[in-house]
Point group: C2
Chain length 402, copies 2
Amino acid sequence: MIPVEEARSRILQALAPTAAETVSLAAAWGRVLARPVHARLTQPPADVSAMDGYAVRAADAAEGAVLRVAGSAPAGHPFAGAVGAGEAVRIFTGAVLPEGADAILLQEDAEAAEGRVRVGETVRPGRWIRRRGLDFAEGELLLPAGRRLTARDVGLAAAANHPWLAAHRRPRIGILATGDEIALPGEPVPPGGIVSSNAHALAALVRANGGEPLVLPIAPDDEAAIAEAASAARICDLLVTTGGASVGEHDLVQSALGPEGFALDFWRIAMRPGKPLIWGRLGQTPLLGLPGNPVSALVCGVVFLLPALRRLSGSAEDPAPRTARARLGAALPENDRRFDFLRARLETTAEGDPLVLPFPVQDSSMLKTLARADALVLRPPHAPAAAAGEAVEIITLEDLGV
Amino acid sequence: MIPVEEARSRILQALAPTAAETVSLAAAWGRVLARPVHARLTQPPADVSAMDGYAVRAADAAEGAVLRVAGSAPAGHPFAGAVGAGEAVRIFTGAVLPEGADAILLQEDAEAAEGRVRVGETVRPGRWIRRRGLDFAEGELLLPAGRRLTARDVGLAAAANHPWLAAHRRPRIGILATGDEIALPGEPVPPGGIVSSNAHALAALVRANGGEPLVLPIAPDDEAAIAEAASAARICDLLVTTGGASVGEHDLVQSALGPEGFALDFWRIAMRPGKPLIWGRLGQTPLLGLPGNPVSALVCGVVFLLPALRRLSGSAEDPAPRTARARLGAALPENDRRFDFLRARLETTAEGDPLVLPFPVQDSSMLKTLARADALVLRPPHAPAAAAGEAVEIITLEDLGV
């Protein structure tokens, strides 16, 4: 059994980001930049007014002064002339500051009547002016390659005049559920069988984390069928199997794929849930074999598949899921040599701090418990017993779309 | 000026969830259930083995005993007979427990040879058996209406045998940017003009939060053009405008829409950034008029549009964005009467606690600063001065896809 950290690092080492494609700005949210975004213009392009009011010469605009209104400068319609001595120009937020003016008299401090305006409060030079380039300057690096685009980034790329962006292609993840005992929802279930839940749960995890899932037909426990289904691997950036990863005679993934050119890296990890986990390569395609238990499959999905997706997608963020700290709501016993990921509810204390409550029963077949969990509590190998109130590391599931 | 909380509650009050549509389980991630999901079967359907090993009668399976292997029970292929005295049946994880057996002898505690198996460690009755219904029972409520489906929920609905789900239709949000001074990225920019960033940033926010954005062509500052564009409102669940919301003569949204049947509820909010904010109804369609400044538009998007999306989508979660607590990395002055949303970076202290650092310049035109922010610091009206190290409420932007 190899440690969780080592397994993750061997998985990440074997993966490279997908190539770039052109995406429209309108479709760029959540995509990972393959090339940096530089500003194509300076923003604002000139000194502009930060408020509605009057562009004035501060020297003329002491309290009580009366100025002649020489014109108007709405946003998008710059005033053609200059502001002379004793003059003001009506101006609106975002409009270019007219020549000669060096400050803005706020609308609420101005009394306008018959082409003149009376200054209600002395104006300081430079007041309410946004300087050219306050936001960014032409050529400036705004968004680095490897950045997963937020809504704000999309706005920034738009403001910098980019209708198109270069993004890494969404990693295509083949998902192959195996087992004679499983059937798709709504289809006839064999005697003693169950309805398959892993493939579509993992597909959702892939989609939530920027990948493109390809759900393959279920393969029965038959070497030829698994080998045929696995041929779909050629068009995938990563093939994920579920089931068939443990040491049972009926766990055929390893033996079925050998003749297809499968090269195993490792297949047992010191973690709970999820000990049997295959990592290797099927021809050119990396293969991640997840356990068949639905809870194990999803927890291993968070711990290994999600980092793999981040690496494949070209994201510069830390591939490991972000952890946070929370106080334990109940004591935990000493841990054994397997890294434990406990399903837990999250509450907030009266003081507003997060409190985490592991479920008392942690069986890896209990999908309902997992669905009701808010977080996984991380218990490293040989972690000492922890009292209620102690701080532990957690992974918040909902933030991962999982 | 009305308070932020009151504005949000008036917005939410005016909105109702969209109707239901049928969605495939494969497309259900992130959708909000319009009807609850009940279990269509019991899981596991019978007592099953939790491990690979041998199904035995515990009374026969003391350390050192040798049992006759009467058959095999892989998952999906139940053993047809019963386990008699002195017998064992080879069994695999998830397989139905054969009649007569009451415990599992672990594979690693068994020594098999020539049709017999030697017990390496005494087996307790009931050991390594998952009882029928351990996960859920037929008819049980698994997922309530109003739940936004996670990957885990998709797995649970699959396991409960649902190929189809009833979800609320994605709210369709019309987005209308107005202003003579703005042009789409890559298109010719008028003199003194800027490139439009709000529409696509808001569209990304809508998409990130389960809505379907409809980006309308930019409307120039011309009443007829705005009125025409607003006619698209009829097919939207909500129309969002940006720009034109303040009191300037060139802020035409209010005046242009009056003749089209626009009924104003309120238009000024005690917040910064974002004082000018219109809320009303255009015919049957609610209308949210956001400020034209890109930072104001996005912050108001987080504070008002995102809750509106949650309400329209039928989600039972708290519509207001979730807040967390962090220590201030720098002192803040006393706040005035406007609710302040400060753009800030988030760091982690050596002790692993979140530390929040507001940017020193908070100008509402600085989109680059917003893009580099991790969080908004909430400063309620008249908040007293806060020293470095004090705890404040924050909204983490990335978790919202914003």
